[in-house]
């Protein structure tokens, strides 16, 4: 590569980096990360993709870039571990393979490997720990009761097999804290301190926690509490206050979420509705009430569209839960009389009813930009 070519590339990269800083969006992060991949800088691409995923965890483009960059590094290890498992299966090889799949975001395969390991080596604690970690991670993200219950069951198995597993006690404490089972949370935190008395964050949390909960409350069944969290759509206690092992909650502690500016949301939803092809657009809150909307006179009324969106969201949510695929991110319905795209972000539902010339892919891009503009803070953008 000659000097001129190198200079041109470095200018392009600088321009893309500026674009990310100025207008962070899945598209800007994706383009920058892909450019790094094209230049063979996989590590940098991975860093960029992960920074983007912190802000836009549902971005498919960024998830693919991350997996691509990681897979290149990890494919050799996967092959070797699979061969090891065929020759001489061991809990260590199973666990390592499950961890790699987890790292690649392939949670289904990680869970399958972990359960195969648990079947073959029922007295080994590691597969249950992986299951517990994955389920807790999912519970933190989707607030689905089944995940909390499976996390609790798996982690209890770990502490039954090894009462000195510090990580399992801490994760159990976190699960119980999130659902509001404070007695159990305290019990597991004390176990953590017995194993590692110098755990300062845990000490401080427990001190503050003991003061706040001086009177022991009546304990309700874990399952009931978890179901209540799912129905309410909010944890019993703020996840960011817990001394968690999860990067997700650690990040939340450092960077609080964007405040919702309803007035600006109303303006933006009208702008979205004014695009050619859009017939209705709206934002619903957790209870399904309209926060902002736009309806063309010849289309559905705002009430009718809100009803339709609530129905689609409930149907999609129900299907995802039955299939154990987590919470709804996006639903797209295409038909001869119009298309509907419904997106879930945090506790909000954003939806558009549209027809030709708008295409589904374009609507998804528009919605991602809308989310980037309205549901991320400038601080988050600066952090990126």
């Amino acid at each position: 590569m000659n000097l001129f070519e190198r200079l041109k590339r470095s200018r392009q990269l600088a321009r893309l980096r500026r674009q990310v800083k100025r207008a962070p969006s899945p598209a800007s992060y994706g383009t920058l990360a892909e450019r790094y991949i094209a230049q063979g800088e996989l590590e940098t691409a991975l860093v960029v993709a992960e920074a983007g995923l912190e802000l836009f965890p549902n971005s498919e483009r960024l998830a693919h870039v991350r997996i691509f960059a990681k897979k290149k590094n990890l494919s050799g290890q996967i092959r070797k571990l699979k061969q090891d498992l065929l020759r001489r299966p061991s809990p260590l090889a199973f666990t390592q393979l499950a961890q790699i799949y987890r790292e690649l975001g392939n949670v289904d395969d990680a869970l399958e490997i972990a359960s195969e390991c648990a079947e073959r080596f029922p007295l080994n604690e590691n597969p249950y720990l992986i299951q517990g970690e994955i389920r807790l991670e999912r519970f933190l993200r989707d607030q689905i009761a089944k995940d909390a219950m499976l996390a609790d069951t798996a982690l209890r198995k770990v502490v039954r097999l090894n009462g000195h597993n510090l990580k399992a006690h801490l994760l159990l404490a976190e699960t119980n804290y999130l659902v509001g089972s404070m007695g159990e949370c305290r019990k597991h935190l004390r176990a953590v301190l017995q194993i590692m008395p110098t755990a300062q964050e845990v000490q401080e949390f427990l001190r503050a926690f003991d003061l706040a909960n001086a009177m022991p409350s009546e304990e309700v069944e874990f399952e009931e509490l978890a179901k209540f969290i799912e129905e309410a759509g909010a944890f019993a206690n703020p996840p960011e206050a817990f001394p968690s092992l999860h990067p997700h909650t650690r990040r939340a502690r450092e960077a609080p979420r964007a405040e919702l500016d309803v007035e600006s949301l109303k303006e933006q939803i009208v702008q979205l509705g004014e695009q050619i092809g859009v017939r209705n657009s709206l934002v619903l809150d957790r209870e399904g009430e309209i926060l902002a909307d736009f309806s063309r006179p010849d289309s559905l009324s705002r009430r009718q569209f809100a009803e339709l969106v609530n129905d689609v969201r409930d149907t999609a949510d129900d299907a995802s839960r039955r299939m154990d695929t987590g919470a709804l991110v996006r639903a797209e319905i295409e038909g001869p009389t119009g298309n509907v795209t419904v997106v879930r972000v945090r506790n909000l539902t954003i939806a558009i009813l549209y027809s030709d010339p708008l295409r589904t892919e374009r609507v998804w891009e528009m919605l991602q930009d809308f989310i980037a503009r309205n549901l991320t803070t400038s601080r988050e953008a600066a952090h990126a």
């Binding site: 339709l308 299907a319 996006r330 639903a331």
Partner: protein
Amino acid sequence: MRKILKELNDVVGVKGSLVVTKDGMVIASHLSRQLQEELVAAMAANVIRRTRRSLERHGLRHFARFTLVASHGKMVFTDTGPAFLVVVMDRNVELGPVDIEIESAGMRIRNQGEIRI
């Protein structure tokens, strides 16, 4: 029909597919061992029935395709005339390239004509 489904399942990221009538009767299926046929069929029938009902209530008639993206998986329901093709996919699958395969499988099922049970 099973051959069509088997070919579809060879696409990276596809975990299983089945052809199901609007009332949930399975015509053919090819699912990975993680998926239970009865569960997928019941879920699919429920999605198809509820979505059609709510679309019709608002004058939008039937739907040709329903794509559902959840945090840990994806599903596509495609109308093939007498029945629906349901495809269950991995979270990480890129929908664009798989769409072509789904459309092609849907077309081949549609071309098989009347389904007799």
